[in-house]
Every structure is written in C-alpha cells, then in structure tokens.
Symmetry: C2
Subunit: 412 residues, 2 copies
C-alpha cells in the first residue's frame, strides 16, 4: 500500500510557480471594478474550448445566489468555458434580486467572451446581505479582454481574496497515455472555514480529457480528503464552492475509473487540492501556525476523520498552540467529546517527535523541548487510537488575538 | 400556558444572598490546602442528615476519576450526606492512581465527618493529567470542622473556582404542602464549557422531601433546559457534573411527579439552575457580555435548541458581538449550517428590539442604533423560524482578546 502511494508520488512533478493557467488552453485575469475600496475585486478564468466541468457546493441551507446559478450552468450539459468571480460582496441572503444579479453577471461575462451563458459559472465572496453593485460589475466585465487589461493569473489570484493575506496557487504535471497532463489550482479562504461538502472558493483546471461524470466523482473523492479536512473556525459559509474544468487539450484517452492511469490522475489532483487546502488553513484568519492532525488506528477512516476534525477545531487546543503550550489534556478532551467509538484506555498522542500520552496516560516528557517544538511554523499532532487501520489527516491553525481583531471589525 | 408559567413564577421568592446553605440543614466551607498557589482550593458541603441525591455527568469519553467515584457513591443507595471538592487539579487522565486518589479523598472526608464513604461525592476541577497532591489534601481535610476553620459558604464558593472571576450562587423559596421549601445552588465554570448531558460543576441543595428517582428526573429535565443550554467555547470537559441533594428537612409530603405541587418545585429548581447557568455564561473566559439566543417557531423544541446552540457557539457571531457589529449575516450563516429542518425563506431575526432580517432578507435598520444596543452588557437575539411552536433559549458570551490570552497561557 505504502509502496503504491510512493510510486504514485514519484510520477508527479510539481510545476514551479504553477497556477490555473499551467494546463494548456486556459487564461485568467483580474481587475479592480470598485466593489472593494482599493484591491482587485473581479476575476475570471477562460478555457479556449468548452471543458468538462464538475463542482461541489456548501451544505449551508442559505446557499448564495451565485451558487444556484453556477449549479444551473453546470447541470445543463456538465461543461464550462468560463468563470467569473467577484470579491467584496457574497451576494448571499439577497433574495430574488440577488438571483437576478447573479444571472446578469453570468450573462454579461458570456456576452463579453462570445460564449453561451450556460458555459459560465459565477462565484461571489465577501459580505453577506448586500446587493451587488451591478453598474460597477458591468463596467468591469466590459474591460475584460481589452488591450488595457491583459490576462495575468496573478491578478486573478488577488481578485478572489477577502481577508486572505497571500495568493494560493499550485500546479503539477503527470503523463497519461504518454501525453503531458497538467493540473492547476487557485483558492481563496481565510475565515468562515469549516467545509462539509464543498468549501470556500477553489478553482481547479486541467488539460486532461475526462468525462464529466468521472470528473465529478474525482472531485468529490479528493475534496473529502483535502478541502473538507480543513477548519479555521467551525463556520461553514453560504458561498463555499470548488469547481474543476477539464478541457481535454492534452489529448490523452478520455479518463474514467477504468483507465489504467486513473489512480495517477486522482493522486495528482489530490496533491493540488491538498496543497491549496493547507495554504488556506495556514492563512486562517489571524493564524501564526499551520497545524496538521493525523489520526491512525481508528475503527475506520470516517472515525479518524471525525476525531481529527474535532481536535483541529477545538478553540482550547488552538489557543494552547498559539501559546506554545504542550497542553495534551485539551487534545485528549477533544478526542473524548468527538462522540466516536474509541477506546478511552488506548490513546497515544505525539506532539511532533515528542510522545506526550501513552495508553491515555501522560508520559514524562521534556516540557521545554515540547514548547520549543510548538514555536515552529508547522505543527504536527499524531493521535493513535490503537484499534484498527482507519486513518485521516486534518489541517487547521492556531487561534490568536488577531483572529478576534479581524472578526470583531470585519464588516464595519 | 403563559398564564400558568406566570402563576408559577409568582409563587417563587428569590432569597437575597441565597446559597447552598439557604435550605435548612446544610453547611458549607472552603480552605486553602496548597494545590493552587494562593487561592482557596478545597471545599465541602455537608447535610445534617443523609439526603436523596442525583447527578448528571459529562458525556466526554475520558471521564475523570472523581466522577467515577461519585457515581459509585450515588448509585449505591441514591443518598449523599457530604461533598468534597478541590480546584487546581482535575484528577483526569490519571489512570489507576487517580482513581485510588479519588477514593482516598472521599474516604478521608467521610472519616473526618464520621459518615459512611458511600454518602460522599468527590469532585475535582483544574489541570488535566497531573496527580493530586494527596498529602496536601489529607492535611486540608483534617482541618475541616476545626475551630480555626468555621464553615463559611463564601469560602466554599471561592474554593471551587478556577479561571472564574466571581462566585456564582443563588437560592429561592416556595411553599409545598404549606411548608417552606428552599432550593440553593453554587456553580463554577468559565472555560471548556459546552455541556452535553451534565456540565461544569454545579451543586444544588434543597430541604424538600423528594424520592431519589423523582429527584433524578427533575434534575435531568431542568439541566437540559439550563446548564445544557450554555456554551462558552464548544469544549465539553472531562469533569462536568451537576449534583443535587434533598435532605427532607422541610417536612413536606414526599415529592414526585404525581404531587399536585410538582410543577411548582420544578419551576423553582429551574429558576435556580438557570440563574447559575447564566452566571457561568456571563463569566465565560474573557467574556465582556452575556448573550441570550431565543429560537421560536421551530418544528419542535429540540430543533430550536440545536439552532440556538449553533448560533451561540459560532466564533464569528461571538467576535461580531465583541466588536458590537450587528453582523446578522453571520447569524443567518450559523442557522444555515445547524443541519436542522428549517425553511431558508422564512427566518426573522431581531437583535434586541431591532428587526434585522425578515423572510431571510435584510430589512433596513438603523446601524447606529444596533451598534449601541450591542454595547450593552446583556445581548438578546431572537430568531423566529415561522414553522411551528418549538422554542428554546441558549446562553453564551462574546469572544474577546482575553479569551485567547487566558487560554494561551492557562497551564504554564
């Protein structure tokens, strides 16, 4: 098993400075249209040819208008050629008018690019409950593709941000049927992050040829192990969405689960999504550290995932890590209230290389060494339940003064 | 229905400066035995006669040793005559030795008071994973009842505290069968508060005569509407416990659900528990405000309770309140991810007297007025789901810089 994974890893090459335009046939850009005060706020991705498309959406009952419109676009023939996205305004809780605005935004971009509206997805992120400033958006869209507005993927990555402090992108390449296949991605997200089915905004592009149903299956499978395993604050947004476009320009034989190189594709997609997910967790609002919690030895993978997310989501664990306090008691406590079938006598916990709990009892450890470890930027916590083979990894961040500062004053 | 509730309320009198010793036949005290650095750390309650007893315990899988011992005591004949409790050390995750220590602590107090060990409950609160300093506890217990250590309920209320910033007590009186019946209570709790069955430490005394099974039923019923409806940080502790002792010295006819004045007793007990629960929420670590969320119009009371607790537990709602930001979008978002059967088109939200959302859409409101309201010490949020008659109220607090400060440095 480990050997197979190792072999798959070896077949993937990370593209340095890779992005959503690393795969053939995609362009992306961003501009300032005036929704935010100063920063870029309107972005787009365009594929030269219609691409197979799939998406996963938030489980929040209050789904924002753009999600409904994007879902309608994708459901029509499972293809997309363009994506238009704004930051600064989520177009959520905006009723009929919000829905109309989302359609208009989609149609304006489709007209600008000369493609069918149902080949366009529309996404929004930002403040909830305010109407989109449609005149500004219309003026912005009309500038896309003009000489003054050359497509630059860095502008796209900036235009999708809200409280993010950095751009988040990544790309890899593999060969399928002897053809070079690339997968690229971009994401935004920093607060209100605790996805449950989809998550924040994620954009994946690939030049692989793949049928839409297989693409949806691949995205779902990989999202569950990556984007859905991060949490910043336990809140699942109204606007979370991850979408993928596969334009087939690599000219491989059409991928599906029977294709002998399917596992290689899935693995490469997982690397891209995991990389983006970790970047989102590390950029959690106010975060000073990336925290990775791995649970092994659970009754099954689902149990492991629940326990890992409960620990990574605990405010008390997060504040302890912020304070570089090896407070394993809070880790044990979070495992204990995860409502999972674990054996409370058998738990082992490592903080980095330091074993702090064995058989659910504290083991003598060097407090100073543990404190030093917790001052690093990447913290790893390993929890062994010692029952069976289930495992999972979740990512999150510490809870700092800055989280409170950012969220006590975000809107006003 | 409202008239009945009103009539019940009118029959209850709040005892000014009431406490666990307001009911006849109880004494309580506290002292410093050296577990904490300076503050009182050993407390006790004693009933002159054995009392009917009942308790509810944490749902955390890692139950602390004292809970196991207390449960064994109570299960033996559903009676208690004394309670011994320490702060500064939770005696949790301490294995066989911790269990032995909890038995020893119980036996020492029983011997000191000349009563049977199984009539004693033992509770601990504080740091997880360290062994109790038994010599200090033994020395402390040996001073209980001495001339130098007169019983003072204020000392008890102080001795049970950890990061609490104030004592929490309350008592009421009613008449049952023409006899004066009092119910008193004390509680501690400030962090790791998100109870699920029992909660933090709560101590209720009454001189009512009541059979143990009815007492257990009353405690369960009332706890679910009070202590189990508060949350500070979503963490359910290993040591949460609420216990009640009823010594019968009021000489009423033995209470049970068939007694015509049973609703009056339940109502009085609920007033005591709600008062303590609200004091705990208000004293949440770092809290500057008490937040009350009422949900009405749900399909049933359970749905209402889930929604209320999801909203009160949202870090984003809590930080918005800390910042006096009427960010109703975060309230809507939390309602939306509560996974309850609500109608996403029908929600109305009030922040204090100000309607901010109607039919799930924002209504124009005076931002300045809402900001001013949120600067008060007691915040009330009303959510109307407009589906049926289910309702519930939950209590919590805002999330401040001080929460992070306290929890980034609690242990070390």
């Amino acid at each position: 098993m480990i050997q197979i994974e190792k072999a798959l890893q070896d077949q993937v090459e990370i593209i340095s400075n890779g992005s959503v335009v690393s795969p053939r046939g995609f362009s992306a850009g961003g501009l300032f249209c005036g929704i935010r005060r100063k920063r870029l706020d309107l972005g787009w991705i365009y594929s030269y040819v219609p691409a197979s498309a799939a998406a996963v959406y938030t489980t929040n009952l209050f789904k924002a208008a753009p999600l409904k419109v994007s879902k309608e676009s994708i459901d029509q023939e499972n293809r997309l050629q363009g994506v238009i996205v704004n930051s600064g305004n989520a177009n959520a809780c905006t009723g009929e008018r919000g829905l109309k605005d989302a359609y208009t935004m989609r149609d304006l971009y489709a007209a600008q690019m000369g493609i069918e509206p149902h080949l366009v997805a529309v996404l929004s992120t930002g403040v909830i409950g305010e109407f989109l400033p449609m005149e500004k958006i219309q003026a912005g869209i009309s500038r896309i593709g003009s000489v003054e507005q050359p497509a630059d993927v860095v502008d796209f990555e900036e235009a999708i941000q809200t409280t993010d402090t950095c751009r988040k992108s990544c790309a890899v390449k593999i060969t399928i049927d002897g053809k070079l296949v690339s997968i690229g991605g971009a994401a935004k997200g920093s607060g209100m992050i605790h996805p449950n089915m989809a998550t924040m905004l994620g954009f994946i592009t690939t030049d692989a040829a793949i049928d839409p149903a297989s693409l949806q299956q691949a995205l779902r499978q990989v999202t569950n192990k990556t984007f859905n395993m991060i949490t910043v604050d336990g809140d699942t947004s109204t606007n979370d969405m991850v979408l993928i476009m596969a334009n087939g320009m690599a000219e491989n034989l059409t991928l599906n689960p029977s294709h002998k190189e399917w596992p290689k594709f899935i693995n490469a997609l997982e690397i891209v999504c995991r990389s983006l997910a970790k970047k989102i967790a590390r950029d959690g609002e106010g975060a000073s550290r990336l925290v990775e919690v791995t649970v092994k030895g659970a009754l099954n993978d689902q149990v492991a995932a629940h326990v890992a997310k409960e620990v990574i989501g605990s405010n008390l664990v997060k504040t302890a890590i912020f304070g570089a306090d090896p407070n394993w008691g809070r880790i044990i406590c979070a495992i204990g209230y995860s409502k999972q079938p674990i054996d409370p006598e058998k738990v082992t916990v490592h903080i980095g290389p330091i074993k702090v709990v064995e058989n659910s009892l504290p083991c003598g450890f060097n407090e100073e060494e543990a404190k030093n470890y917790l001052q690093q930027e990447n913290i790893h916590i390993l929890i062994e339940l010692n029952q069976a083979d289930g495992q999972a990894t979740a990512w999150g961040c510490d809870l700092s003064y800055d989280y409170v500062r950012i969220n006590a004053s975000y809107r006003t």
